[in-house]
Symmetry: C2
Subunit: 122 residues, 2 copies
DNA sequence: CCGGGCAGTTTCCCTTGCGTAACCTGGTGT
DNA sequence: ACACCAGGTTACGCAAGGGAAACTGCCCGG
């Protein structure tokens, strides 16, 4: 293995900074359902502001994970879609999100238990 | 599916906040190699400060993803290990890190290409 | 007695993330 | 002429993130 994520100098750390981004994960995952327009993404991912969305999209495009295609419709529409590289990444992201949805209850229970014990100790 | 990560109100978003954390991902992944002591983690994950490590560990413990076991040795040693829930999560995290290490080169190339075009346009 | 290792906690402080909201461009309906 | 759509960019400002480094407490070896 040429790279080692445990090393601070490893460029893979930079990738991790992008992947370890809540919004990026959600955007990427949403794009697995097909090419999507800017405002559609904004509407569907609740809590995501215009500014942050445009930043995230720019970063993902720069990383070669998504493509930005402009259509000369009226008004102009812009579609974002996964590249091959992006698809290959989302194959790994999807399970993570599904895990989060599936194991929510156990985590909330663990948190409640932890907080209870902490309160008791104090 | 009871939960929907696209909704801002979904508690799974909270989980995503933890999962979408560079340091947490690295710590979790390191623990798949077995129980590890505090300073061992700190040394092995370069760039990770004491403060951040202790914060991350506390959060992961609260989430029920890792256990903290104190041994009455001299000096006292503390071992962190994955719980069943944690193991099940890392099963999804590992591929992500491996993906980052594997596809680094393609991403760097994409970034260089993007920056080149940007410079040309300006 | 001093330094050093373990396992943290705390303080300081600077950078960044991100929500809010206004503004911009360009074309279209009314 | 005016407002409105899409798709952004920019300015503002707070609050959280996280690095550096000092401090605690305990015990060991030299």
């Amino acid at each position: 293995m040429a790279y080692d994520v445990y090393s601070a100098e490893c460029p893979a750390r930079a990738v991790l900074d992008h992947v370890g981004d809540k919004w990026a994960l959600l955007v990427l995952n949403r794009l697995t359902q097909g090419a999507t327009r800017f405002n559609a993404l904004r509407r569907e991912i609740s809590g995501l502001s215009q500014k942050v969305l445009s930043q995230v999209l720019k970063r993902l495009e720069r990383d070669g994970l998504i493509t930005r295609q402009v259509f000369a419709t009226v008004p102009v529409t812009v579609e974002y879609a996964l590249t091959g590289l992006g698809e290959c990444l989302t194959a790994n992201v999807g399970p993570l999100l599904r895990w989060a949805e599936t194991n929510m209850d156990q985590i909330r229970a663990a948190q409640a238990e932890y907080d209870r014990r902490l309160a008791q100790a104090a």
